[in-house]
C-alpha cells in the first residue's frame, strides 16, 4: 500500500446548537448499531436530532416516565466477552486459525496491532493511530480496537469495529465477532442481518477513510468475515458475508438523512433535552421535534415507548402493513369513519374507502 505524506485532520464540525440540546451532560457516542438503527427509520427527525446531539436517551426516557427495558443479561455479556477474549488470546492465535481458511492469510507474516483500550479520552489519538496504520500497512495484519469515523447526518461520529484484517494482496476485510451460534451452517437470520448491516457501516467508514488518504476505496472488500461459535460449542467458525446490498442501502439512507444541523437550526429556541430538566419541559421539547413511530422502533430505540404513547390512535402504531391496508389514512378513527360512511372520502381515498366499506359490510353481516 502506498504511503501518503499529508494526513488531513478529521473534520471538526461540532454544532453548538446540537451540543446545547444536551445541557452539561457528556455526549453519548454512536456505534455501528445506532447507525444501523438510524438508517432503519431515516424519516424520524426526533431520533436524528437526539442521536446527533449525543443525548442519553435511556436516561431521558426514564426522566419523562417512559423507561424501557433495554437491559442486557450479564450472562449474555459474559459469554460474548469470553468468546471474544478466547479468540484474541495469544495475539489472536485462535482467530487467525479460522481466518486463514476463509481469507487465505499467510501464517507467518501476520502482524497484530492493538490500538488500545476503549476510553473516551483517547478517541482522537486512537483515530490518528488507525489512520497512520492504515496509511502505512503492508502485508497481512490484524488491527484490534481501531477507531474509524463516519459522517452521519452532517456530523462526524466515531466507530469501533471489532477488528480489521489485512489480507496479503492488500485487501482489507472487516471481521465481526458475534456470540450467537451457527448450527449446521445456519444461524438466526435476524441476528445475521443485523451483523451484516453493522459490518457494512464499518466497511463504508473504512472506505471513506481510505479515500481521504488518497487510496482506492475498493481496497476494502465488501466481503466481511463473521466469526461465531459453531453448533453448541465455543469452537469458532468463520463465514464470509457479502454486504454489497447492505452497503447500497446504507449509502442511500445516509444521503437521505436530512442534515441534522439544518434541522436543529429550524427548531424553536429554548428546546433542551438536558436530563436534569423537569419532565414536563422535556416532553414539551420532544413534541417540537417530529417523530415517525413504527412498531419496529420498540426493538431499536430507547425512546420508543414515549413515541408509541404519543402515536396512540394512529394507524402507524398498528404497523406499516395495517396502515397500508387501511388506505394509508392517519388515524384509526378516520379509517373507521370511512368504513362506516360517516366521513366523505377525499378523491384519493375513494378507492380505499370503498374497500373499507365493503370489508365493514362483510364483517357486520357475518358477526
Amino acid at each position: 500500500m502506498p504511503r501518503v505524506t499529508a494526513t488531513p485532520r478529521p473534520r471538526d464540525n461540532s454544532d453548538s446548537a446540537l451540543d446545547r440540546f444536551r445541557g452539561a451532560n457528556p455526549a453519548k457516542r454512536h456505534n455501528a448499531r445506532t447507525i444501523a438503527a438510524l438508517t432503519g427509520n431515516p424519516g424520524c427527525s426526533r431520533r436524528a436530532v437526539l442521536d446527533a446531539a449525543g443525548v442519553d436517551k435511556p436516561r431521558l426516557a426514564q426522566q419523562i416516565g417512559f423507561p424501557m427495558g433495554f437491559g442486557q443479561s450479564r450472562f449474555a455479556l459474559a459469554r460474548g466477552n469470553g468468546f471474544e477474549a478466547m479468540l484474541k488470546a495469544d495475539n489472536c492465535a485462535l482467530l487467525l486459525s479460522v481466518l486463514r481458511d476463509v481469507l487465505a492469510l499467510e501464517t507467518d507474516s501476520v502482524a497484530y496491532a492493538d490500538l488500545g483500550e476503549d476510553d473516551d479520552a483517547t478517541l482522537g489519538a486512537r483515530h490518528g493511530r488507525t489512520r497512520e496504520l492504515l496509511a502505512a500497512a503492508a502485508g497481512a495484519a490484524l488491527v484490534d480496537h481501531p477507531l474509524l469515523t463516519l459522517e452521519v447526518a452532517g456530523r462526524q461520529v466515531f466507530l469501533e469495529p471489532d477488528l480489521i484484517a489485512f489480507q496479503v494482496e492488500g485487501r482489507l476485510h472487516v471481521v465481526e465477532i458475534k456470540s450467537f451460534a451457527i448450527v449446521d451452517g445456519q444461524a438466526d437470520s435476524a441476528k445475521v442481518s443485523a451483523a451484516a448491516v453493522q459490518a457494512a457501516v464499518y466497511v463504508l467508514a473504512l472506505r471513506r477513510l481510505l479515500t481521504s488518504l488518497g487510496h482506492d476505496p475498493a481496497l476494502v472488500s465488501h466481503d466481511v468475515v463473521l466469526v461465531c461459535p459453531r453448533d453448541f460449542s465455543l469452537t469458532p467458525q468463520a463465514v464470509v458475508i457479502d454486504v454489497r446490498k447492505q452497503l447500497a442501502t446504507l449509502k442511500r439512507q445516509l444521503t437521505r438523512l436530512a442534515s441534522v444541523s439544518d434541522l436543529a437550526a429550524s427548531l424553536p429556541d429554548g428546546i433542551s433535552f438536558d436530563v436534569a430538566l423537569p419532565p414536563a419541559q422535556l416532553i414539551a421539547s420532544l413534541h417540537e421535534v417530529e417523530a415517525r413511530y413504527a412498531p419496529e422502533c420498540l426493538s431499536a430505540c430507547e425512546l420508543a415507548v414515549f413515541c408509541r404513547h404519543e402515536a396512540s390512535g394512529s394507524t402507524a402504531a398498528l404497523g406499516r402493513p395495517v396502515r397500508d391496508a387501511l388506505g394509508g389514512v392517519n388515524t384509526i378513527q378516520e379509517a373507521l369513519e370511512l368504513a362506516t360512511e360517516a366521513r366523505t372520502p377525499t378523491e384519493e381515498q375513494a378507492e380505499a374507502a370503498a374497500l373499507l366499506q365493503a370489508a365493514a359490510r362483510l364483517r357486520a353481516g357475518i358477526l
Binding site: 455479556l77 398498528l318 391496508a325 358477526l367
Partner: protein, 504 residues
C-alpha cells in the same frame, strides 16, 4: 395484511377489546394436551435453564438445570425432560384403526389418537427444534454416554418441530400463533408476539382496562416473559447471584423460576380454554387424521430403530418436503375458507368469491351435444359483490363441495341503483348418476349461495427422482461421504407421509 384483518384491528382499538377473526376454531384441541414452557440461558447456544410442563394445569412439573453452563447438568435435565415427555408421547398407541388405501385394495393402520404439545410462542418451537438437534445424535455409549431416553427425546422433539412447519398441523402448537389466528388486537403484531400483551387484549383481568392490562403485560416485573428468553433484570439480580456459587441451591433456584414461569403457565391454559369455547371447524378433524398418520408413521419409524433425522435434508428430500408443505398450505387456506364465512369474506373482498341469490334454475337441462347425453343444469345467480372471474372458470360452493359450476357468462345488470352482476353457471357432478338430478342437489330459485374459485380438489404431489438420480442442477447424486445422511433424509422426512403401520 388484508383490509378485513386491518379493519378488525382498527375496530379492536376503538372497542378496546380484541375482535374475532374466525367464527370457528381452526385447530384440533386435544382433550389432554401437554403444555410446555422452555426457558433458556441467555447468551448460550440453546442451553436450557428450566421447563415447566404437564397435562394437569393445577399441578405443573418444573424441571431446573442446576448449573446451565455445566454439560452434565444439561444432559441430566434432558434425561428428566425425556422422562416427562416421552411417556406422554407414547401414551396414544393403545388403539389403531384401519384406513383403506389404494382405492380400497389395501388397508393400513393408524393410531386413534396422537399427542399434542403447546408452547407459548414461535421461540418455544425454535427452542425445541434446537434442543432436538443437540440431543438426537447423542450416543448412549462411550465416553460421553447419555441415557437412552435423551436421543429418543431429541428425535421426538425434531419430529414435533418439523410438523409445526406444516400449515394446519396440530401436533405442536404455539399459543401466540393460535390466538392471533382467531382474534385481532388493537396493537401491532410486534406487540402481539408477547403472550401476556396479546392475552391482555383478548381476556384482560376483571376490572382492568385493556390498555392498563397491556401496559402491565410489558412490565417483566409484573408479568415475566413467556420465554425462552429470560428477563435480563431477573438474570442480573436474581439468577446471577444464585448461580455464582459452585453448587447452586436447587430449592431456591426452583422457587424463583417457578415464580417466573407460573404466570405464563396460567395464561396458556386460559388461552386453551378460550379456544375450546369456540365451535370446531368441520374440516379440522380431517387434518387431525393427517396428524395421526404422521404420528403413527414416526412411531413406527422409531420402533423399527430408524435413524435420527439428518442435520440437513438432501436435495431430493428437501424438494419433496417443500412440495408437501406447499400442498398443505394451499389445502389449509382453502379448508379454512370453506369452514369459516369470516375467512371466506377475505376472498369475497378480493373478488375470488361472491355470494348471491339464484334467480333462475333449469334443473333438468340435458347437454346432448356429445356422444352420450349428460345432465348439465344451469342457474342464474345475481350478486351485488364484485365478480372478477372470466367465463370458463370453474367454481365451487361450500354448500355443495362435490359439485362444479362453470361460468357461462358474466353480465352487469345496468338498471337499478346498485351495481349488480348476473352470473350464468352450468353445474356438473354431485347430482346422482341418472339424467334427473337427485332432489335438493340443484339449487332452487331464491336460495342464497356462495361460489368461489377456491377448490378442495385433490392435488397430486410432485414426482421426484431417487436420491442417486439427483440432477446436476441440484448438486448431483450425493457423494458417498454424506450418502448416509441423505438416505436418512428420505427416511427422516417420512414422518410427514402416511406410511403402512403393521397392526399393533
Amino acid at each position: 395484511m388484508s383490509t378485513l384483518t386491518a379493519l378488525a384491528r382498527a375496530q379492536a382499538f376503538a372497542a378496546a377489546r380484541a375482535q374475532p377473526l374466525a367464527t370457528v376454531r381452526h385447530l384440533h384441541l386435544h382433550e389432554r394436551p401437554m403444555v410446555l414452557i422452555p426457558y433458556a440461558m441467555a447468551g448460550e447456544a440453546n442451553a436450557p435453564l428450566a421447563a415447566m410442563l404437564g397435562t394437569d394445569r393445577k399441578n405443573p412439573d418444573l424441571l431446573v438445570v442446576a448449573q446451565p453452563r455445566n454439560r452434565d447438568d444439561r444432559f441430566a435435565f434432558a434425561a428428566s425432560l425425556a422422562e416427562a415427555i416421552v411417556p406422554y408421547v407414547d401414551s396414544f398407541t393403545a388403539l389403531t384403526e384401519a384406513v383403506a388405501v389404494d382405492r380400497g385394495r389395501d388397508v393400513r393402520y393408524r393410531f386413534t389418537d396422537a399427542p399434542q404439545l403447546w408452547v407459548p410462542n414461535s421461540g418455544g418451537v425454535e427452542f425445541l427444534r434446537l434442543f432436538g438437534r443437540s440431543t438426537r445424535f447423542r450416543s448412549t455409549e462411550g465416553e460421553y454416554a447419555v441415557p437412552a431416553a435423551v436421543p429418543l427425546l431429541g428425535r421426538w422433539l425434531t419430529f414435533f418441530a418439523n410438523t409445526a412447519e406444516v400449515p394446519g398441523s396440530s401436533l405442536l402448537l404455539n399459543v401466540v400463533q393460535a390466538m392471533s389466528l382467531h382474534w385481532a388486537t388493537g396493537q401491532s403484531s410486534a406487540e402481539d408476539a408477547q403472550l401476556a400483551a396479546l392475552m391482555a387484549w383478548i381476556a384482560p383481568p376483571a376490572g382492568v382496562s385493556v390498555f392498563e392490562a397491556a401496559a402491565a403485560a410489558e412490565n417483566p416485573a409484573l408479568l415475566p416473559p413467556a420465554g425462552p428468553a429470560t428477563d435480563p433484570a431477573f438474570d442480573n439480580h436474581v439468577l446471577a447471584p444464585l448461580l455464582s456459587v459452585a453448587e447452586p441451591d436447587i430449592a431456591e433456584l426452583t422457587a424463583v423460576l417457578r415464580e417466573q414461569l407460573l404466570p405464563t403457565w396460567n395464561l396458556m391454559w386460559q388461552a386453551i380454554d378460550l379456544l375450546r369455547a369456540l365451535p370446531v371447524g368441520s374440516r379440522v378433524a380431517g387434518r387431525w387424521d393427517g396428524d395421526r398418520d404422521a404420528y403413527s408413521a414416526f412411531y413406527q419409524h422409531l420402533a423399527e430403530g430408524g435413524a435420527p433425522q439428518p442435520r440437513r435434508d438432501g436435495a431430493v428430500a428437501a424438494a419433496a418436503r417443500l412440495s408437501r408443505l406447499e400442498n398443505a398450505a394451499a389445502r389449509y387456506a382453502v379448508q379454512r375458507a370453506f369452514d369459516d364465512p369470516l375467512v371466506m369474506a377475505e376472498y369475497r373482498l378480493a373478488g375470488a368469491a361472491f355470494e348471491g341469490a339464484v334467480t333462475l334454475a333449469k334443473a333438468d337441462r340435458i347437454d346432448d351435444s356429445g356422444k352420450r347425453p349428460v345432465l348439465r343444469p344451469r342457474i342464474m345467480v345475481v350478486t351485488a359483490e364484485p365478480v372478477r372471474m372470466e367465463p370458463g372458470a370453474t367454481l365451487t360452493s361450500p354448500a355443495r363441495p362435490s359439485q362444479k359450476a362453470t361460468i357461462i357468462s358474466v353480465t352487469p345488470v345496468l338498471p337499478g341503483d346498485e351495481a349488480k352482476t348476473e352470473v350464468l353457471l352450468e353445474l356438473s357432478g354431485g347430482m346422482g348418476r341418472k339424467l334427473v338430478a337427485e332432489p335438493g342437489s340443484v339449487p332452487e330459485v331464491g336460495e342464497r349461495l356462495l361460489f368461489t374459485t377456491l377448490s378442495e380438489a385433490y392435488r397430486p404431489g410432485g414426482a421426484f427422482p431417487e436420491p442417486d438420480q439427483t440432477p446436476w442442477t441440484h448438486g448431483g447424486p450425493p457423494v458417498s461421504d454424506s450418502a448416509a445422511d441423505d438416505e436418512a433424509g428420505v427416511n427422516g422426512s417420512a414422518e410427514l407421509e402416511p406410511a403402512a403401520l403393521s397392526g399393533a
